[in-house]
């Protein structure tokens, strides 16, 4: 009976808290082990750099993705449906820390963080000398592709970032002919950007890609590019994920770029944090190879080990993420053959049908959902429950009742009940915005059905 087990849980919980407090008090008196402190040291002068063959820029292998800046506390998040909710002080601290530890590449976009990423990044970076960092931003005209609006976006980026030239500038999120023609050819914006490159206000021109392989090859052959931003990690390397319309593997994209000696920038090395917390079977395998390496460090080493990679972008929200990644690349230890083989096995586990996550990288391009759903949080909770073994999909499991409670209570904690999967209207508005091409309404209904089954089973 659930009622009984609940009360047991509470008792256990109180005991646990009490014991934890006692333990904390005790450990305060003990002496610290010196060796573990050394292991956690973050070097300031050992960062691996790559040279951009086009202009000789010495770019840090770890690049800062400015899509996931810290937001002010969750409690206030709900009331802040409008305006910036970024924690500028925390952003400043992260940028200072990154620069102090050798990171010199910052990538943003006018669309990120409800449109406040650029200005927030600009504030933080303008406190440092301009020659200490490279900046990268994008032409993101998904809303209104008119020439006028596109030019406005371009102009605002300079104002927001407080710079008079862009080190790297990208045509944002292209993937098929129709979309590319509408946003960049018909309005003459690509021509405009080419001219800006000649004028020196854009130092390097590239594009970011989510789309079909045929179009990738077309773009590569048709225009002169200085670099390309591609999605690459040990899952996408050779596997084409079902729900992804990218009918081309990361390996193909990388190899085409390497052949033409065009540097590759890497996005989603962690798939929005999913590879930092992969399925526990995968984590076990990683820990058996190196008990002290984080799951994220494996993913970064995978991307960094490829020589034609200029920089690996990571949207680090917390300083601990930043520290872990700096350690991984200070300096980079390229993967050995055995380690690569291990990661290949990890990919098999993660992609196994029973462990398969919803392919969301929490990029927020689908948001805001007009009917209020918190789409990325819904997917994140589902994936995490699956990866952490809190997935009550089998009533025969001895662990079923506990997992059921963890799933339902956790869901209510992370997502306000008025923003959960059961609210999806199926309007399809989100679908066209998803760079991973997830069938969001269909996945919402799947999660809702799963949740409903659990709720009814009192």
């Amino acid at each position: 009976m659930e009622e009984i087990s609940n009360s047991m849980d509470r008792r256990d919980f109180i005991k646990l808290v009490g014991a934890g407090a006692a333990l904390a008090a005790l450990s305060g008196c003990g002496t610290q082990e010196k060796s573990s402190a050394k292991q956690l040291e973050v070097p300031t002068d050992k960062m691996t750099y790559r040279i951009d063959p086009k202009n000789g820029n010495k770019v840090s292998l770890l690049g800062y993705g400015c899509m996931r800046w810290p937001r002010i506390s969750r409690a206030q998040k709900e009331s802040l449906t409008e305006g910036s909710d970024l924690d500028q002080e925390a952003v400043n601290k992260l940028v200072d820390y990154a620069i102090a530890h050798g990171v010199n590449f910052f990538d943003t976009s006018p669309r990120y963080c409800k449109g406040f990423s650029e200005s927030s990044t600009g504030i933080a970076l303008s406190r440092h000398p301009r020659d200490k960092y490279f900046i990268s931003t994008k032409m993101s005209n998904q809303g209104n592709p008119s020439r006028e609006e596109s030019l406005n976006i371009y102009k605002r980026s300079f104002e927001n970032l407080r710079v008079d030239y862009m080190d790297y500038y990208l045509v944002h999120n292209v993937g098929n002919h129709k979309n590319f023609k509408e946003r960049y050819i018909d309005n003459g914006i690509l021509d405009f950007m080419m001219k800006e490159r000649e004028a020196g206000r854009i130092r390097s021109l590239g594009w970011s890609f989510h789309g079909d392989g045929e179009f990738f090859d077309y773009l590569m052959s048709e225009y002169q590019w200085d670099f390309v931003l591609i999605q690459l990690n040990y899952l996408d390397w050779s596997n084409v994920v079902e729900s992804n319309r990218t009918s081309v593997s990361a390996r193909h994209q990388y190899e085409v770029l390497a052949e033409k000696n065009i540097p590759a920038m890497i996005m989603e090395p962690l798939l929005g944090g999913r590879l930092a917390m992969p399925h526990y079977k995968a984590r076990t395998m990683m820990a058996q190879t190196d008990p002290n390496a984080s799951a994220a460090s494996w993913a970064f080493r995978f991307a960094g080990s490829l020589p034609n990679v200029l920089t690996v972008l990571s949207g680090m929200t917390f300083v601990e993420h930043l520290q872990d990644n700096i350690r991984t690349y200070s300096p980079l230890a390229p993967l050995t053959e055995n380690e690569s083989a291990m990661l290949n096995q990890v990919a098999q586990i993660v992609l196994a049908p029973e462990n398969r996550n919803i392919n969301c990288t929490t990029c927020q391009y689908c948001m805001p959902c007009p009917y209020g759903l918190d789409i990325p949080e819904i997917f994140t909770h589902f994936n995490r429950s699956l990866n952490e073994g809190n997935f009550p999909d089998n009533k025969q499991d001895a662990d079923y009742r506990r997992a059921r409670r963890a799933f339902l209570v956790g869901q209510d904690r992370k997502i306000s009940p008025i923003r959960q999967a059961n609210r999806c209207t199926g309007c399809q508005i989100c679908r066209k915005n998803c760079p991973q091409n997830i069938n969001i309404p269909q996945e919402m209904q799947r999660i809702d059905k799963f949740t409903e089954t659990l709720k009814i089973d009192v």
């Binding site: 990120y112 956790g410 209207t425």
Partner: protein, 464 residues
Amino acid sequence: MIKAFFIIAITLLFLDFTGTVHTYLGWCAKIQLVPAILAANIAVFLGIILITLIFGRIYCLIICPLGILQDIISIKKRFFYRPPRKPLIVLRYALLAAFIPSLFFAFAPLAVLLDPYSAYGRIASQLLGPVYKWANNLFAYFAESAGSYAFYSVDVWLKGIAPLVLAIVTLIAVGISAWKSGRGYCNTICPAGAFLGLLSKFSVIKPRIDKEKCKHCGMCAKNCKAACIDTTRAEIDYLRCITCLKCTKSCPLGAIKYAPPTGADKLSKEGLARRKLLVGTTLLASGFATRAAANQFDGGLAKLEDKKAPVRTKPIAPPGADSYQNFHDRCTSCQLCITVCPNQVLRPGITKAHVSYERGYCRPECVKCSQVCPTGAIHPITTADKSSIQIGTAVWNKELCIITKDKVACDLCARKCPTAAIEMIPFPMIDPYRCIGCGACEHLCPARPYSAIHVEGVETHRVI
């Protein structure tokens, strides 16, 4: 001890929102007098009468939560003031007289105010409930930090101003009267007290003053919570005595004994009266029995307006209520159902509970209100029963629907209907023979603040 048990048990019933406590202590609410009468619970009713006829007003003393509350308030008070010789006897029986018809007809607002159990329920759920939930949320906060799922956070929200004010006023009134005169409420206002007082006059065992030993010192009267001892005549007014037995302990001469009668003549006289009374109550009980049959940027969250309640031409009663009439007639507004409703569907009105779907809908797996209701306003049902009880039917409003308003596809109401009563053609077509009125469609409807589909109650619930 027993007092402490009952007050703690009943308070917990009104605080615990998980329904755990109810499994073990639910009976504490069911043995309350007024709820038992309304629920036509003859066993409990007769049980209370029998106990009163033998031992006196034990019910008022140790079972009624409002009575115990008064004792707690006056626990530090040493002596109570001596009442005037003529208590407010007219008021007392006038209130009882006004109360009785309301048991047979609609349970009137006046009766809701007077019933001691419900008055206590309102105080506990309105005033202590939020404190309890905040404490729980604090634990939930720590549990979340510790990665434990033992506690979960619950909403604390003002369910209505009127019930809150009512609870505060009741507490203040009862508090003052308790501090000044002990069980003043029980002996002046309370209809249950008045009724049981009439019976306790004939109790077999009761405190009796030995007139020969009594020196009229007045110690017993000073300690008496019920202000029922006339020291000059050495007599106890049994209409008011609640058998707390403070007098027997406080008498320095041991002149008061809680005992059966001694004289043979007395016995026969009282016996006759008791028989008459029993016949009367049996008739009364049978009366109850007949009643019982009855794009620009990425990220961020869209702002969501709070839902507003639609105007319902017919109110909704929860499944198990049989009809809105029955629900209305029997609900004493004790708020027990409101406390346990996990979906925030039931909420207090000025005097009666009511159903609305702005914060949740009547979910298929839950029958908690029906299990806890002590008055029979909501009868016990199972989840299987529930899935086929129609408490209302859905009505669609074209103007509000996002299909018309936003020109987007939506089939949420049809998809979420637990009885598959809605079909999209492509607007919702509602099957009135399948719709049970659970409010899933109304609650989940994306149109805000007014849902484009809402539930109208049906007067008599039907099994479909």
